[in-house]
């Protein structure tokens, strides 16, 4: 007899009511977290043995394939951070999950949308496509490093002034790109800005206002 596809769900419903006054939403989020823990368990077990980078036979820094977490040092927004990361981490995940710098957003995770744009050694880059291990020694700047709510970067102020966003999800990437653009060879026309900003996608379509915001800061508007 084929297994009833609703069996587990029904069972969960029963368990939920047995646990007392708990909304379906809180229960489901609890189940989600439990599932996550379960699926990560083999890795977490291995991860208890925290290792620091060791020298490979040929010299230089490295680590061996043991499934262990690895300690790396990252310089972000002018401060050095020592973090234990999964060696497979992208710079993006490291910033968000380990350093809790969640201003940098994950969109496509494949270098196609630009939401994760940060500066690496003063130049804009997709943090989702950078293996964090390779960023040791780099000077990384995130949206948190260019301005504060009290003292916005001129580009941040200009995005506010020109309404350069709608939902806001792409905005930190747009702004990091735009700030980097100020130091790049880029013609003065709106078309030049559009070309230079083509690596940042805005699903809300705030492009016209984004161009205005950037041109204002460049003194071209």
């Amino acid at each position: 007899m084929p297994e009833d596809p609703h069996k587990h769900e029904n069972h969960d419903e029963v368990s939920a009511s047995a646990l007392g006054p708990s909304s379906r939403r809180t229960f489901l989020s609890g189940v989600g977290a439990a599932g996550l823990v379960a699926s990560l368990a083999p890795f977490s077990a291995a991860a208890t043995a925290v290792r620091t980078p060791e020298a490979p036979p040929a010299g230089g820094a490295g680590f061996s394939r043991s499934g262990a977490m690895v300690a790396i040092r990252l310089r972000v927004n002018g401060k050095d951070h020592e973090v234990q990361i999964d060696p497979r981490s992208s710079l993006l995940d490291c910033l968000r999950e380990n350093l809790h710098l969640t201003g940098t957003k994950k969109g496509c995770d494949h270098g196609q949308c630009g939401a994760c744009t940060v500066h690496i050694n003063g130049r804009r880059a997709n943090s989702c496509l950078s293996l964090a291990l390779t960023n040791q020694g780099d000077e990384i700047t995130t949206i948190e490093g260019i301005g504060t709510p009290e003292k916005l970067h001129p580009m941040q102020s200009s995005f506010v002034e020109h309404d350069g966003y709608q939902c806001g999800y792409c905005t930190s990437g747009q702004i990091m790109s735009a700030v980097a653009l100020l130091k790049e060879p880029c013609g003065g026309a709106d078309a030049d800005v559009k070309e230079a900003m083509s690596g940042n996608i805005c699903r809300c379509g705030a492009y016209a206002n984004i161009v205005d915001a950037i041109q204002k800061v460049r003194g071209k508007a």
Partner: protein
């Protein structure tokens, strides 16, 4: 993504020793060099690439653009695409290369992507990137999903029954038209390979894309000196105005003297399984009087070999027009 060993090397010798342990330097390599990571790390996330060892070569001293004794230029494998595109000498002497680089990817990606990585850039064929689908390039013998599938963006030149994947690089098209030379260091020492011999047609072995062997490290790409007055141009046609792979592109490097093509190098992108040297057009034009009325026939001669698929027959006319127009651009003010 599978777990991997990671090491950072400080010398070419260390990199070669690490790379030599790989089964292959092609698809399925268990040792991979990482630089910008814009292709490799992406494919590792998709489980298309699953190296057991990742060797970080970012700290090798290969990040310079230098003039060679013969008047050409030598580009280090770690020179970032943006630095190469904006290098004053490259802009001045090899505009086709600068234009090709700037037409590719986005500013963010160009800041990370390197010359060596771009040279080895992998196809964007959706079936290659999807491990749930058969793909002879990713998994030899599993079949080609593209031939009966979504093939609008794929190749019409150099294809085989096993693979129709396009080489996606713009830079490679310019390097092909410029007769660049790839400099390789490996377990048996250093060697050079003309770019025309570097890439391999898919044939029955689409997983083997170039001549690299385990341990081989691309250290430089060199460009020959161009004759005084040579002109070069890159034209790229695509679905969007920016940040999109080519449906068709053309690179032309022409030296016109006394109204005649003294020399001409032509390559096409977006249509070939490798950056496509347009030998038929070169042969028709070299030594002849510059006459735009002859350009279309030269382009047609290249596309005569085209084998369109169910969705990409339009590329024959598109590539013909693209090359015709690029030849016009390259000779516009030449006399």
């Amino acid at each position: 993504m599978e777990i991997f060993d990671y090491s950072r090397v400080e010398s070419a010798a260390q990199a070669i020793a690490a790379g030599a342990k790989s089964r292959t330097a092609q698809q399925g390599a268990n040792v991979r060099f990482i630089a910008g990571g814009t292709t490799l790390f992406d494919l590792m996330k998709l489980n298309v690439e699953h190296p057991e060892t990742v060797v970080d070569i970012n700290h090798l001293p290969l990040d310079k653009v230098e003039r060679t004794p013969n008047g050409g230029f030598q580009i280090g494998a770690l020179v970032r695409n943006s630095d190469l595109a904006h290098h004053p000498e490259i802009v001045k002497h090899y505009p086709v290369l600068s234009q090709a680089l700037l037409s590719g990817a986005s500013a963010q990606l160009r800041n990370r992507a390197t010359t060596g990585g771009n040279l080895l850039q992998r196809t964007r064929c959706v079936y290659f990137r999807d491990t749930h689908m058969p793909c002879n390039k990713r998994e030899p013998g599993s079949g080609c999903s593209a031939i009966e599938g979504f093939n609008r963006n794929l190749a019409i030149l150099g294809t085989s029954e096993q693979c129709i994947a396009t080489n996606p690089s713009d830079m490679n098209v310019a390097l092909m038209a410029l007769d660049a030379v790839v400099h390789i260091q490996g377990v048996k020492g250093a060697r050079t390979v003309p770019i025309a011999s570097f890439f391999l047609l898919p044939g029955k072995t689409p997983h083997i894309e170039n001549v690299l062997q385990p341990g081989d490290l691309v250290t430089h790409v060199s460009l020959p000196a161009l004759p005084e007055g040579a002109r070069s141009v890159y034209l790229k046609l695509r679905d969007r105005a920016s940040y999109e792979f080519a449906l068709s592109s053309a690179a032309v490097v022409a030296h016109v003297q006394g109204g005649k093509f003294e020399s001409i190098g032509i390559a096409l992108g977006g249509v070939g399984t490798m950056p496509w040297r347009a030998k038929a057009a070169e042969a028709m034009l070299k030594g002849t009087t510059v006459d735009p009325a002859k350009f279309r026939a030269a382009a047609e001669a290249v596309l005569k070999e085209a084998r369109p698929q169910s969705e990409n027959g339009f590329k024959i006319e598109l590539a013909t027009r693209c090359l015709t127009q690029t030849l016009k651009l390259a000779t516009r003010t030449a006399s």
